[in-house]
């Protein structure tokens, strides 16, 4: 090979690098591990994590211990999906392009929207994307966030805001949910309003009223929704939202210490040319046969550069594919049953905890799979004591909400049993 190139040594290949900026020593890294040593090392690291198979967990707050069906693993293990790049050459990538088209359809069906992109990074960054779309669609630069939106989502929007030239306003909750009148007042001159359904406390917002309040103020209504709730809860498109976004992890992804997962971004058709990210579209080939391509690429950074609707290139396609497989496994009936199971089990947990003398933080609010309960002592103490009995009772709300230092956010997925919930009650009241 060196002879073909016309050089005598590999070092000559690097002579274009000025001598002054060459490293001139070995990297100071630990020696290479063989495959079996590598597995042993990572197994040891993994063993020092208490996963939800080793500790009974009621943690949620955005990431949930839902069951991931075996077909998801089987499909994602296919090397063609795993090792393909973004489908720039459609004749090589019809499978992944069709899968994205089917995913977009599933997200549109769940949310009641006309168009979905191929995925965003996660449930936080799609909220920033929504603000960017809303700013350009309305010419306004204020965005309104409900305080009941996941704090991490709000933090990410605030991080992006200076670059986007946005002013962020937050509307406080009243007894666990947002007041539509207060929201409407805050939304005057706003580009968009983002609220979450079910909200961070697990409560059901008066979502149709919030969407109407945003609309009346001339702001785009953006619903941040949980995909597994949408078999039982109304679709944002049905109550007038302009955009529907969310964290996809609940549908098809493992918890994986927070990622990689997928964020979804869906919109009414009028926003199609302002969408961030990849979109797969149907067309025909020269024989008139159906095929799929990445479409509307003039929105995107590789064509439009500084005038692009977003800088996103790499997205979360494989995780979105997992979502599609999971939703196809569930079907409409399975999705509804999953939602009903979460509702019933979490309601059982609320009742049992109340009977045992613990106070719900927002007792008159309907919830879906998560709720806030007062532990009767600082939540961090309750967590410590429950964990010493093998149960993680939930998230300490005081970490980001003043005045809720004694409150736990308890998530109950379909994987929890009534016996496990009884155990939770037992350790929290011990």
């Amino acid at each position: 090979m060196l002879e073909t190139i016309g050089i005598d040594s590999v070092d000559e290949l690097f002579e274009q690098i000025p001598a002054g900026v060459r490293l001139g020593r070995s990297l100071d890294l630990e020696p290479a591990l063989s495959e079996s040593e590598l597995v042993a090392h990572l197994t040891e690291l993994a063993s020092r994590n208490l996963d939800t198979g080793r500790e009974l967990s009621f943690l949620g707050a955005g990431i949930y211990d839902h069951y991931v069906p075996a077909v998801v693993d089987a499909v994602l293990a296919r090397g063609e999906f795993l090792t393909a790049y973004t489908p720039y050459q459609p004749e090589m990538s019809q499978g992944v392009l069709q899968a994205i088209f089917e995913y977009q359809t599933a997200i549109c069906e769940l949310t009641g929207m006309d168009v979905s992109n191929a995925s965003g990074y996660d449930g936080t960054t799609v909220a920033a994307d929504a603000c960017y779309v809303a700013k350009h669609a309305t010419g306004r630069s204020k965005v309104v966030l409900a305080e009941t939106v996941n704090p991490q989502v709000r933090q990410v929007v605030k991080t992006y805001a200076p670059g986007f030239g946005l002013d962020v306003v937050e509307v406080p909750h009243r007894n666990g949910t947002i007041d539509p009148d207060e929201l409407q007042a805050a939304a005057s001159d706003a580009a968009c309003v983002i609220f979450q359904q079910p909200n961070f406390f697990g409560c059901l917002e008066p979502a149709p009223d919030l969407a109407a309040a945003a609309g009346d103020a001339g702001a785009l209504a953006v619903a941040h929704v949980d995909p597994v709730s949408l078999g039982v809860l109304e679709a944002p498109g049905a109550y007038g939202c302009a955009l529907a976004i969310g964290e996809g992890q609940s549908a098809g992804n493992y918890q994986s210490y927070g990622g990689p997962h997928y964020g979804f971004f869906a919109a009414r058709s009028e926003f199609i040319r302002r969408m961030p990210g990849r979109i797969s579209g149907e067309t025909v080939d020269s024989n008139g046969e159906r095929g799929f391509v990445l479409t509307l690429q003039t929105r995107e950074q590789h064509i439009r550069r500084e005038k692009a609707t977003s800088n996103i290139t790499t997205n979360q396609t494989l995780l979105a594919l997992a979502g599609l497989v999971h939703l196809s496994w569930l079907g409409p009936q399975g999705l509804r049953e999953l939602g009903e199971t979460c509702l019933a089990l979490s309601h059982y947990a609320k009742e049992r905890l109340s009977e045992a003398g613990l106070e719900l933080v927002f007792p008159d609010k309907a919830t879906f799979k998560e709720f806030a309960v007062r532990a009767g002592r600082p939540a961090k103490d309750a967590i410590r004591s429950a964990r010493s009995n093998g149960v993680h009772p939930g998230y300490a709300l005081g970490r980001d909400h003043a005045g809720l230092d004694d409150a736990l956010l308890v998530a109950v997925s379909e994987r929890r049993t009534t016996e496990e919930i009884d155990r939770l009650v037992e350790v929290l009241t011990a």
């Binding site: 296919r78 795993l82 790049y85 790499t314 199971t341």
Partner: protein, 498 residues
């Protein structure tokens, strides 16, 4: 092939869910789902067959050679998939207490240390989800840094060469900066005369990919650094092409203040048909206070998350970032150790070997040795035979190869950007080069063979113009328009890849 929705039959399902005898609480009428989502209704056997058929219609690195320039389509070792599936990683909740996630925290801390050593910068945040988010994070760091120094109003411009990936200018706009373009000189380096006139007290920073998207290491890098640092500006290194220089040269040593990594390129996170990726950033000491929270820190023998960073720009993504990507990349790097240098050496060797085989048959706009990739021009084929680079790309498919990146970088007409990577055998490189040479002969002898290519894929060329003019981006069930034959398919001669 039918859509999964077209295989749907009412009442069929693959799922089984736990049964219980609890009452289901009522949802208030106005919040209850009024009509069910039309998800597929399909049995598990049909579901598996459907996605198997889709996989069969997808070409990955596992299928064959995939020399997509700037994308680093190397082999993805399967041991990484094994370790990422360990329940201690896969089923770990991101809000698990620190005492019960020490293994995850240690892995992240170790990866930070490794990445810092590879690029020669001391502080790392793993949080950004992909390269372009790393870019935006880096630019937001610049904003915060200059704002903290009282220079925020003054420094409004980011300088970017004309060879840059489209993400760079797009990130500049998203960060609220103004773009200043700079030209490339006849050797493929940044044009220093052009640059000198464009850098001053108004400059916040430079974004540079080095080696550039031409596959060339910028020979004037020391002078570039001097110009920016004398102007008090910062330098951002786009790590898309880091696969060329691991263990050989470090961006921190040649003056860069901020670097992003593409874990899905250099460190073998599988590309997954478009993602996930990982875009950690490394920075110099003076920028560390501004990094995203939480920071992963070591306290004696224990590891913890530090949120107490008052100057931090905040969060750019949920939790600590795409943890599963960290597991794979950490495993990948540990399987090399200091021999990462050999990874880069072979990547550069493979690229130069293939360049030597092809440069006479195609045009080489910058006649130098290359780094890990190179850019050819198909201009002569177009002029002499009316055959475009798009035709060459489509014809390569018939030979069983994924095409290279085409029509990028923008400054090379009819560009073909080829990155073989270090994981390809010489026989594969030879076979690809033979196909490229055969295509040159075909262009002269039977150009229609190229213009009608591909001949051996599940679909023929697709009508991209139609897809963009009349976007059909979801299935519409009963109202879905049946596709019908159009005239000639029209492709866009636009960048595909990178």
């Amino acid at each position: 092939m039918k859509l999964v929705y077209e295989k749907s039959k009412p009442g069929r399902r693959a799922s089984s869910l736990p049964k219980h005898d609890l009452p289901t609480p009522e949802i208030p009428d106005e919040l209850r789902r009024s009509s069910p989502p039309r998800l597929p209704e399909i049995s598990e056997p049909e579901l598996v067959r459907h996605f198997t058929a889709l996989a069969d219609r997808t070409f990955g690195v596992d299928t064959g050679f995939y020399p997509l320039g700037s994308c680093t389509m190397k082999h993805n070792p399967r041991v990484n998939e094994r370790v990422v599936s360990l329940p201690g990683f896969r089923d770990l909740h991101p809000l698990q207490e620190e005492d019960a996630s020490q293994g995850a925290l240690e892995l992240m801390w170790r990866l930070q240390e490794i990445l810092a050593e590879i690029v020669g910068l001391p502080a790392v945040s793993l949080q950004p989800a992909a390269g372009s988010q790393g870019e935006l994070t880096g630019l937001l760091l610049m904003r915060a840094y200059f704002s903290d120094r009282g220079e925020g109003e003054q420094r409004r411009e980011i300088v970017i060469p004309d060879t840059a990936h489209g993400t760079n200018p797009a990130s500049v706009t998203m960060a609220g900066y103004e773009l200043v373009g700079v030209k490339t000189d006849p050797r493929g380096n940044v044009d220093l005369d052009d640059l000198r006139g464009k850098v001053g007290p108004q400059t916040a920073g430079l974004m540079l990919t080095n080696p550039s998207t031409l596959g060339l290491f910028d020979e004037g890098i020391e002078e570039i650094t001097r110009i920016f640092h004398e102007a008090g500006a910062l330098m951002y290194y786009d790590g898309a092409n880091l696969n060329a220089i691991c263990g050989i040269s470090r961006p921190g040593d040649f003056g860069f203040d901020i670097v992003h990594f593409n874990l899905h390129k250099t460190f073998s996170q599988p590309h997954g048909g478009g993602g996930p990726g990982g875009g950690p950033i490394a920075v110099r000491e003076r920028l560390e206070p501004f990094l995203p929270v939480p920071a992963v820190v070591r306290d004696g023998e224990a590891f913890r998350l530090d949120y107490e960073r008052p100057k931090s720009i905040g969060k750019v993504r949920g939790f600590c970032g795409p943890f599963g990507v960290f597991v794979r990349s950490y495993a990948y790097i540990r399987s090399f150790g200091p021999a990462l240098k050999e990874m880069s050496e072979v990547a550069v060797l493979n690229a130069n070997y293939m360049l030597a085989l092809l440069k006479d048959a195609y045009e080489l706009p910058f006649d130098r040795l290359c780094m890990h990739e190179f850019v050819l021009s198909g201009r002569r084929l177009k002029r002499e035979h009316g055959v475009t680079t798009l035709d060459v790309a489509k014809r390569l498919m018939d030979y069983g190869f994924h095409p290279p990146t085409i029509y990028f970088p923008l400054i090379v007409p009819e560009a073909l950007m080829i990155e073989p990577t270090e994981t390809e055998a010489k026989e594969t490189l030879d076979a690809f080069a033979e196909a490229m040479l055969a295509i040159v002969r075909e262009a002269a002898e039977a150009p229609e063979l190229l213009k009608e290519a591909p001949h051996a894929r599940p679909v023929k060329r697709l009508d991209e113009v139609r897809a963009a003019k009349n976007p059909i981006v979801r299935y519409r069930f009963e109202e879905h328009e049946q596709p019908h034959a159009a005239g000639e398919p029209r492709q866009l001669e636009a960048q595909k890849g990178a």
